[in-house]
Amino acid sequence: MSGERVSVQVNGIAVQIVSGSSVAAAIAWLGVPSRRSVSGQWRAPLCGMGVCFECRVSIDGVAQQRACMVPVREGMQVRTDD
């Protein structure tokens, strides 16, 4: 239901976001990039639809999840690269 907000933790920081949003959106609300490339560059989503794999983060302890394909859930723990 639109308008309802959900609280997720991104890198230990609580982010409130509209229910149904993607984890990628929650990360963007925090203003941080999602991953470091193999040579250490910061990256953020490119395609928004699960094809580019730039949005990979750890969700509830499971690594390498595409954040743009996962809807937020109350209490979710998200960790980006540091």
Binding site: V38, R56, V62, A63, Q64
Partner: protein
């Protein structure tokens, strides 16, 4: 222009190593390769450098070759990773084989130490509990073979070797006939791996298909190459198909998972039932693999000789023709030593290790 001291047929890791070694000795070398350098079995391989002790002659060649690999340890594109191998004893039967294994490795000059059950998880936290023990071989490692093959060919070419993007259709007296009907003249070294029968049908060579799965990056999850104690049995076994646990951590954190062997498969198609068997075996040792993301599955063909040891030396009844092929799953490890052995024999020098176990003449006997 078409006369050479040595014509190397095939630019996989074996041919590339031979071309590099021969050119370093001042020989005028031609390399003939129809595809890309390191693009055959070399490209599909795991790239492990393992002191495999299934047979004494296998261990001797591996040990000799791994000493030579040290000279390439700093080559960036080789991605050399001295991860060591942790052999795993699943049960008491495996455990009972450890003393003999340690003795074989010691006799071969390979540093190794027994690891008791309690210490296993300290070395490798992801291992399933309840394993009986293991053996740590700290000097084993892994490389990225196609880049090494390309580097060796480049090095040879810098010394004047010539790379022909061509196919040898026939061996002839004094040289080879190429597909474009031209000829090259000189001693010939056949290093064509699984395609050996096309030029040397008298040397039995069977392709043995294997599967590999590579995961996304999980840095630090697995620290050593892991092999189950029975791996060599699979490598030297005669059954139609077998799997043996083998996981290699790549430098970037990807995990390379093997191994499977099939004698009767004639295609390169991925067999999902075979992949399933292989992964089921892997889960027995590393249950933590299950949630990891697999990116790619591929197959490769191992060239298998009459007895699992490569053919390295003069080909009987073919003057001027030599062979370096049939390395099963140890081709990367033994490539540099094979090349040195071959070139020593070509130049009439005493090889560093006994060449007789690899003599192609053994086939006729």
């Amino acid at each position: 222009m078409s006369h050479y001291d040595l014509i190397v047929v095939g630019a996989g890791i074996i041919g590339a190593a031979c071309a590099d070694c021969a050119s370093a000795e001042g020989m005028k070398v031609a390399v003939v390769e129809p595809g890309s350098v390191g693009g055959g079995s070399t490209a599909s391989s795991m790239g492990h450098l393992v002191a495999l002790d299934g047979l004494p002659a296998e261990l001797a060649l591996a040990k000799y070759s791994m000493e030579l690999w040290q000279s390439l340890a700093d080559l960036p594109q080789a991605q050399y990773h001295r991860c060591g191998t942790l052999w795993l004893a699943a049960d008491d039967a495996d455990l009972a084989r450890i003393p003999a294994k340690l003795a074989r490795l010691a006799a071969g000059g390979v540093v190794a130490q027994a690891v008791d059950a309690a210490s296993l998880r300290g070395l490798e936290p992801q291992l399933v509990s309840g394993l009986a023990g293991g053996v740590l071989v700290p000097d084993d490692g892994a490389v990225y073979p196609p880049a090494v093959a390309m580097h060796l060919i480049e090095r040879a070419c810098q010394r004047g070797a010539v790379l022909y993007h061509e196919r040898v259709v026939r061996l002839e007296a004094g040289g080879v006939l190429l597909h474009d009907r031209s000829r090259l003249h000189g001693a010939v070294l056949v290093a064509t791996g699984c395609a050996l029968a096309e030029l040397l049908p008298e040397l039995p060579l069977q392709p043995r298909k294997g599967h590999l799965v590579i995961t996304d990056r999980y840095p630090g999850l697995i620290r050593h190459q892991l092999l189950q104690m029975g791996y060599a049995d699979s490598a030297h076994g005669e059954v139609d198909s077998s799997v043996a646990f083998n996981v290699q951590p790549r430098p970037g954190g990807q995990l390379l998972i093997g191994s499977s062997r099939e004698n009767r498969s004639t295609t390169r198609e991925v067999s999902m039932p075979m992949v399933q068997r292989m992964l089921q075996r892997a889960f027995e040792f590393l249950p933590g693999l299950r949630p990891l993301q697999a990116l790619r599955i591929w197959t490769g063909l191992r060239p298998v000789s009459v007895d699992g040891l490569p053919y390295l030396g003069r080909v009987p009844d073919r003057p001027g023709v030599w062979v370096a092929a049939g390395h099963e799953g140890l081709g990367i490890t033994t490539s540099l030593g094979s090349a040195r052995l071959l070139v020593d024999q070509l130049l009439g020098r005493e090889p560093a290790i006994d060449p007789r176990p690899y003599d192609p003449a053994r086939v006729a006997a």
